[in-house]
Assembly symmetry: C2
C-alpha cells in the first residue's frame, strides 16, 4: 500500500514498513565531463537529502530501493547496486521528519516510530543525466542534480553515504566495464577516457588508458572514412555488446 | 546489558535490541592449504548456523558484529569486513529460535519479536585457524571449523551468505594484500601462492603469480644462506610491514 499523504505516513507508516530500516539511493549523473548527484530539497527548503525511504513489511530491500527511487523522483533505474549499510547509533534525529511532524501539529513523543533509530542500506547507480528528468514528490520541494563539490548541507549522514558510494564506484572501475549507458553508439577513446577521469576526479595518461581498455577486449573499432582532413580524425569505437555484458558479469582487469 | 539465559533472551531481547536487524559473521579459517568456515551447531544438533545475533539499541552494527563473534565463539577478531546486507522477505522462520521457544514451553504468537522478519548485515574475516580455539556458548552445542565443500544443512539463508562472502573475499584479493596473519615471519613464494590458490579454489601459474606479487612491492627478499644443497632451496620472503599496511589502506593492483 502506498501512503498518499504525509499525515497518512506519520500515522500509519509503522503498520506497513519494517521498523528501524531505511534505504538511501545515491544516483550519480554524468553529462559532458561533469559528475553530479541527485538530491531532494525539503519542503521548507532548509536542507537537502538523498532519495530514500522505508521498506515494506513484505518487500525485498532491493525492490524497496527501486520503488522509492521511482516514487520520489520519477526515475525508473533497473540497476541499483547495494554498496554499504550505515549503522551508527548516532544516525538519528531526522530533522526533516521531526519538522514535518511539528508543522502538521502531529502529536508525537520519543516512542513515535519515526523517532526510532534507523539503519540505512545504501544503493548507487550512474546514469546519463541528460536522459532523465527527475521530479520531486509531495515530500520535497525540489529534485535536482547537484555538484559533488561543494555539496550543500545534507540530512543526517547523507554526505558520508555519498562519499562512500563514490569510493565504491571508483573501485568498481577496476573490475567492471562502464560507459554503455553513458555514451552514444559510436565514440572516441577520448570520450571514454573522459568518463573515467570525471569519476576519478583526476587526469589519466592517454597511452596507458588506451592500452588498458583495449586489453579488456570489449570494444569494436570502426572503419575510418577517409575524406578531407579525416586522416586526422580519431578512430571511432563501439561497445561489443556481447563482450561488454559478459565482462560486466565475469569482471575484468582482475589479477586473480 | 548481556542477557544471561535463553529465557531472558526471549522475554527481554526486544527491550535491548534493534527490531528487525541482525548481524552474521562468516569467519574463514585457513590452515595448510585448507579453507574452512566457522559454524555453530544448534543445541538439538539438528542444524548448523553462522555465529550471528542482534544489535543493541545504542550499539553500532560494526561493534555488534565483533561483540557477537566474541560472545558466541570466544574469538576476538579486530578486522571484520562488512560485505553485504541480506534483505529478502523470505528470510524468516528461524527454525532454531522457534524450536528453542517451544522446548522452553515459552508462549509465543506471530507478534513475538523473534517471529518478525529480520534483515541481516554480513561481515567476514579470514584467520589462521591453528591460532584460535573457538568455543560454543549457551545457545549452541558445538562450534567448529567446517569444510566449505560440502557444507552441512544451514539455518535460513546462511549458505547464500557464506558464498557471497567467499565471492567478496576472492574479489578483494585483487586490491588488498593478504597473508600477513596467515604465514610465519619468513615464507616462500610458494607458501603465499598456496593461500591465493586455496581461496580461489584453483591453481595459478607460478611465473605470473611471482610477477604480480613482486609488482606490488610489499615483500622483502631474505639473504640465502648457502650450505649443503641450499642452492636448491627457494628464496625466503617476509612482508615489509610498512609497505604491506600502506597497500592495505590504499589498495593495490588497481588499473585506475
Amino acid at each position: 500500500m502506498k501512503l498518499k499523504t504525509i499525515e497518512d505516513f506519520f500515522l500509519h507508516g509503522h503498520q506497513f514498513n519494517l521498523p528501524g530500516v531505511s534505504v538511501d539511493n545515491v544516483i550519480f549523473g554524468f553529462h559532458e565531463n561533469q559528475l553530479k548527484v541527485l538530491l531532494l530539497q525539503s519542503l521548507d527548503k532548509n536542507i537537502w537529502m538523498l532519495p530514500g525511504g522505508f521498506v515494506g513489511k513484505k518487500e525485498h530491500i532491493d525492490e524497496a530501493a527501486s520503488r522509492i527511487l521511482k516514487d520520489r523522483t520519477g526515475l525508473d533505474i533497473i540497476f541499483l547496486k547495494q554498496f554499504y549499510t550505515f549503522g551508527s547509533p548516532l544516525r538519528s534525529n531526522n530533522k526533516i521528519l521531526v519538522k514535518a511532524l511539528e508543522s502538521l501539529n502531529q502529536k508525537y513523543d520519543k516512542d513515535h516510530w519515526i523517532m526510532q533509530r534507523f539503519i540505512t542500506v545504501g544503493y548507487y547507480s550512474l546514469v546519463e543525466y541528460a536522459n532523465v528528468n527527475p521530479q520531486p514528490d509531495e515530500f520535497s520541494s525540489v529534485c535536482e542534480w547537484y555538484d559533488l563539490d561543494p555539496l550543500p548541507e545534507l540530512l543526517l549522514d547523507h554526505k558520508e553515504i555519498i562519499y562512500k558510494a563514490l569510493d565504491e564506484m571508483r573501485l568498481n572501475l577496476n573490475y567492471q566495464p562502464i560507459g554503455y549507458n553513458l555514451l552514444p553508439k559510436e565514440f572516441t577513446m577520448k570520450n571514454l577516457q573522459s568518463i573515467y577521469e570525471t569519476i576519478l576526479g583526476r587526469k589519466l595518461d592517454r597511452g596507458n588508458f588506451n592500452r588498458k581498455i583495449l586489453s579488456y577486449d570489449i570494444l569494436d573499432k570502426k572503419e575510418k572514412h577517409y575524406s578531407g582532413g579525416a586522416h586526422k580524425a580519431p578512430y571511432l569505437y563501439s561497445f561489443n555488446k556481447k563482450k561488454y555484458f559478459k565482462a560486466l558479469e565475469n569482471g575484468l582487469g582482475r589479477d586473480f
